[in-house]
Symmetry: C2
DNA sequence: GCCGAGGTACTCGGATACGATTTGTCCGAGTTAGAATGG
DNA sequence: CCATTCTAACTCGGACAAATCGTATCCGAGTACCTCGGC
């Protein structure tokens, strides 16, 4: 099991957008991160559909965050790219085979599914507690405060 | 992103094996859960390689747990089937493009990768805290104590 | 000089091929149980 | 009757196809800016 590469790109793009004072087209985002423009566009499309970013067409158009970077969690981005589905989907094995449990007896979730759901909830909780603003702040600390400034400068050029 | 179906099968098989007083061949496990025998064998193979179960060849052979059900965590099984790799693998985007950070400056993990790693650790921690014995106990409670007894009886028949 | 219409260039959006990973299947190697045979 | 050998059936293990999902790409729809012409 692995997460789509698009998640990483989307997160970096959101951090970049949080530093932009103007709209940023996908061409420019792709250039900055050195990734295939056409494929990145697909991810941005997903972000747009999920309401994380807003798109503006036409000359001078591009993408912008729909709300403050502090209001966008990492989970929002992950769900937008990877879909809302759970890692683990119970196929109700207990209802199959010679010892099948009748459906009316299955009032509670299967214990296996429950365990996986609990773990997944913990995962989601952590991601929901981290915002794009947090990511940006950490990046800045790691680079001694130059990284975000460089990005802002580059975006204006 | 989704977890392999084999994980669910493997977990149920481990619960079943925890109730067995003798070796259980893959044919019988497949019959009980109503899944393709040949494919289930593949998952059991993975469990065997990971040291979760022990296999015995020849007539009267089959599988058994290598240790007590209380000593086997759900995480052990998941890792055995799905592999030890992380969901998220950082491709070091920060080292690419016009604003690439030189490698010697990358002493700390990327903040994006760190966020994902934290979330994944939380997920693993939950799964590491749940054992096959716990799963069995919960199944039994949900079925008013009949499910495991039925399994034990069926295994002897 | 000002206003408006038109064209053009640039943007995003969905539909479309390719590749990799997961899923599913098969046959061969190894081992044990049992039967047959000789003592 | 017992020990030994042989056979045969049953088990797992790794190697082999098919399907699904993620990756990558292209071309069309839409919009804003700029230019050009008329007033």
């Amino acid at each position: 099991m692995k997460l789509s590469n698009g998640v990483e790109w989307a997160l970096h793009c959101c951090v970049t957008l949080s530093q932009a004072s103007t709209l940023v087209p996908s061409q420019r985002l792709a250039e900055l991160h050195d990734v295939p423009m056409t494929y990145l566009a697909k991810q941005l499309q997903a972000l747009s559909r999920a309401g994380v970013v807003h798109s503006w067409q036409g000359q001078g158009g591009g993408y912008s965050l729909t709300r403050s970077a502090r209001e966008i969690s990492v989970l929002d981005v992950v769900v937008a790219i990877d879909g809302p589905g759970d890692f683990f989907r119970c196929t109700e094995i207990r209802q199959r085979g010679p010892l099948a449990v009748p459906e009316e007896k299955c009032t509670k979730m299967c214990s296996v599914a429950r365990a996986m759901a609990t773990a997944e909830a913990a995962w989601r909780e952590v991601l929901a507690g981290i915002t794009i603003a947090d990511l940006a702040a950490n990046i800045d600390v790691a680079s001694s405060g130059t990284a975000l400034k460089d990005v802002r400068t580059w975006l204006k050029a």
